[in-house]
């Protein structure tokens, strides 16, 4: 079966000749997979995500979306077909919640009543009462509510692929756990293919079907959480994957009588 997303030997060198941001990355993301890219800051995981919806163009290698060379697709149409959500969210401050959520359908030329119906449906889906939130401006939302709106906006045009860049990173821990669990359920229910970027291994282990560990622009290891736990490729992966367990142990020691 063709993978939904495939990267084949993709590199991106930033101008100025410094170290390549991404070097010869190859990945297959099968349809319906919850795929997590993890690594430390500056390892190239966000860059890799931006190469998928052509916010960035690779300097070598190719990106395939559902078997088609992404370079041959119109980048604007490509992005309208993918949900994109990132930590800063980037809600349009001059538009209401409903207008933010309905933006991609509007760009795609959906009729207004259909957009309105879809907007309410999505607000219900992300558990925001449409009657209460529809006409609010982003400035009058809490951090968690904003990210829910961001999620609804990303899902609006019924994308098959969701690209998420530390989407829950700025939220308080309770909201964050609640929202990530809700999203995982949505992923399964809607049959999405999700690529999520994070530096939080606990989040990765709890959400992912497949985890790819990145370091210095390269993929170090790809596998299921279980595979990574049982057979880490090197000491870096081992120390990374053991972080949650180690912290749990430290916690137990700290609170022990």
């Amino acid at each position: 079966m063709t993978p939904m997303i495939a990267l084949e030997g993709v590199s991106l060198a930033y101008p100025g000749g410094q170290a390549a941001a991404v070097r010869e990355v190859s990945l297959d993301v099968a349809e319906g997979t919850f795929f997590v890219l993890i690594g430390e800051s500056g390892c190239g995981k966000t860059t890799t995500l931006h190469l998928i919806n052509r916010l960035l163009e690779p300097s070598a290698g190719q990106v395939l979306i559902d078997g088609e060379d992404a370079r041959k697709l119109d980048p604007v149409a490509l992005r309208r077909g993918m949900g994109f959500i990132f930590q800063a969210i980037g809600l349009f401050p001059h538009l209401t919640v409903a207008e933010n959520v309905g933006i991609t359908p509007k760009l795609l030329g959906w009729p207004a009543p259909e957009i309105a119906a879809r907007t309410d449906e999505l607000l219900e889906l992300v558990r925001l009462n449409p009657a209460e939130f529809r006409d609010r401006l982003p400035a009058r939302l809490s951090g968690g509510q904003r990210q829910r709106v961001g999620l609804a906006r990303a899902l609006a045009a019924r994308p098959k692929i969701m690209l998420m860049d530390e989407p829950f990173g700025a939220l308080d821990p309770l909201t964050r756990d609640e929202l990530s669990a809700e999203y995982r359920a949505l992923h399964d229910r809607l049959g999405l293919t999700t690529v999520l970027v994070t530096h939080d291994m606990t989040e990765a282990l709890l959400l992912a079907d497949t985890i790819a560990v990145m370091r210095d622009g390269r993929i170090v290891q790809v596998g299921s959480p279980k595979e990574l736990l049982s057979a880490p490729a090197d000491d870096f992966v081992r120390s990374l994957i053991e972080t949650p367990r180690r912290r749990a142990a430290e916690l137990a020691k700290a609170v022990a009588p």
């Binding site: 916010l55 992005r79 994109f84 990132f86 969210i89 809600l91 349009f92 001059h94 760009l107």
Partner: protein, 508 residues
Amino acid sequence: MIRVAWARLPEYLGQHVLISVSAIAIGFLISLPLAVAVSRIGWLRGPALAAASVVQTIPGLALLALFYPLLLALSVFTRHAFGFGFRALGFLPALLALTLYSMLPVLRNTVAALAGIDAAVLTAARGVGMTPRQSLWLVELPLAAPVIMAGLRTAAVWVIGTATLSTPVGQTSLGNYIFTGLQTENWVFVLFGCVAAALLALVIDRLLALAEDGFALRSRGRLLAAVAGLIIVVGASLAPLFGGEERPIVIGTKSFEEQYILGAVIGDKLDKAGFKTVRRDGLGSTVIFHALEAGDVDVYVDYSGTLWTTQMHRADMPGRKAVLGQLSAWLKTRGDRSVGTLGFENAYAFAMRRDKAKAMGIETLADLAAYAPRLKIGGDFEIFSRPEWAAVVKTYGLHFAAQRQYQANFMYSAVADGDVDVISAFSSDGRIAQYDLKLIGDPKQALPPYDAVLLVSPRHAGDAKLLAALKPLIGSIDLGTMQRANLMVDRSDDKKTPEQAAAWLARH
């Protein structure tokens, strides 16, 4: 005097609003896309902002004045190259200068506002699948709108203020009150013009502020109220301009009292003959002749010697009659028409205090030459750059210790108070008698005669009804009468308006 000022308000305000709004609108339509281009193309930013800033450093009056010769040259070129010219005076130079003036605030604010948009919002715009154009129209410009509006407000206030300076290039504006008032020392007029321009700027500023709030608070009501207010103010101001179908006769005047009085005399005659008239006041002495030839001015009074030297470029002095005869013939070849002489001369004549002249034994310019190196001379803004001055200097070998320039009003008190010893007076000026000045003789006839001649533009050169209405003025004003009329306006006690002096003149 207030009543006279009110009567002129519809025309002055209408013209002021017309020129300001046109300049602001065109400036906005140029600077907004330019700002977008600048924010997209990095290297454009420096040159564009620098150019706009340089324009801002040019004094408003100089910028306006600059466009007149520029357009005149261009018009001459197009007439030769393509067979048509255009009017280098009035609306066009004022429009171009004010448009340039209005650009910097919008340009600078828009560039800053676009640069200041949250990067996350721009990433999101791309991420949801907007094209660069959609990102601009749906996200960037709406977010920048309040700051852009603030720039537009600044531009509007600047332009409405600076538009008062478009009067000397022949565009009627509220500045007509100020310039006329300054020349005739009519402080009511000056104040009236200043207050009217300030009020207009204030009203437009408040309405644009309302629109700015509308954008910032996303309040459709405020936006609609602002737009409605602007339409009402601009519409009401412009309405009088579209009142009459018939093109009025334009009476031009130069910038001194005698001209204002004669303008009023002509206006009165034409009004009585059933013509609709408007005034273009305070035009420069060369500008007004070009305006006549271009059809911007239909009737005005010039002086034979002025045209002889500055327009015909003649240096010889064949005598009074010959000058008039050749002038009329020359005017005919250009399509203009001289209706005739009014009956008096307003000549350049050098004057000094009678006691001083007596002490030095000065009767003529030849006597003056011996004392000149120890004396200071005062003149108006034109004399020292005019051919007449060069002729006098050459003929009599005059060299003064110092030259000073004054507004004509202040020149007479300067010589009376002893700030200068000699002035270039005007023979019809009432203040020569008032200050008891002695006119210095010109035995070698270095100065040409300056008969007041009534001129009509090519457009009306064959207009029998107009010519018939003007005919009674020919030979009707002698020097003594003109001097007395001038003094009525010049003196500080029992001061009269040019209109009152004109009415007095009509009775004598």
